[in-house]
Amino acid sequence: KKYVLVIHGGAGTIEPSRMTPELEQAYKAKLKEALTVGYEIIQKDGSALDAVEKTIQVLEDSPLFNAGKGAVFTHEGKNELDAAIMDGESLRAGAVAGVKIVRNPISAARAVMEKSEHVLLARDGAEDFARQVGLTMVDPSYFYTKERWDGLQKALQQEAVQKKANETAVKLGGGHHDDKFG
């Protein structure tokens, strides 16, 4: 069988107990929708690059996944988004890191690749560039979902417990956390 499009929506501790039939259905429906968008572009002889960007936009716009709307929160309670794209034909590549007000970071990554001499732009500079090339900019609150906010609160509570346990380490400017979330 020859495949033309493959997607992933993240790999993590997806607890079967939390995955209700309705939620599973919602995830599968969104994955199918994303695949269909990309497939239609390929079917019309569109470019792999277009298919990748448009497919990822569907997933970025869905609150179900940790990208765009529905992204996780930083320690400071912000959404800082990263994205990259690469063109297999020309080996051109573009990426953005730490952007907070660009609706579709994958489109900002593509703009860096196609409209700049750079490969990676970060934070407010990347946002200025995205604004200059006319990408859709949103208020930071656009990315908020209660589930992700609650996820941060849980991580902060766990961190507080761990902090107490290894006070000394934390004092050494960041110390050594075994916990990868933080």
Binding site: A11, A34, G38, D82, A109
Partner: protein, 133 residues
């Protein structure tokens, strides 16, 4: 993290990845997603790759490029190369998964976590989606 790899009718490959990063991240921490060669890579001569997982291990193991290099230099299939590259992440203490699509339309979707939201569609339009193993 979300990702996509595509092969168009002209034989061109492309890869893309987008993420919110890791919950509770500090100090402007960045993972593999925006690092070309670590979380995202595409080369018409071999494969398009998008990764998801504990970013630091993908950066240190240059996983996305490693998949292409293993296919290029050792002649591994996309599945062998993807498994071999991901095994380095697990061996060094990380976890996650990746999707890879080669220039013939063969795919690989390995992961070593409890699940990975993933999907694929063939040239004929046959659609597959899955979450758990």
């Amino acid at each position: 993290t979300v990702g996509c790899v595509a092969l168009d009718n002209q034989g061109n490959l492309a890869a893309g990845t987008s993420t919110g990063g890791m919950t509770n991240k500090k100090f402007g921490r960045i993972g593999d997603s925006p690092i070309i060669g670590a979380g995202t890579y595409a080369n018409n001569a071999s494969v398009a790759v998008s990764c998801t997982g504990w970013g630091e291990f993908y950066i240190r193991n240059v996983v996305a490029y490693d998949v292409a290099a293993l296919m290029d230099y050792r002649g591994l299939t996309v599945e062998e190369a993807a498994e071999t590259a991901l095994a380095k992440v697990a061996k060094s203490g990380g976890n996650g998964g990746l999707i890879a699509l080669d220039k013939e339309g063969n795919l690989a979707m390995p992961f070593n976590t409890s699940g990975m939201y993933r999907g694929a569609i063939s040239a004929e339009g046959e659609l597959e989606v899955a979450i758990f193993k």
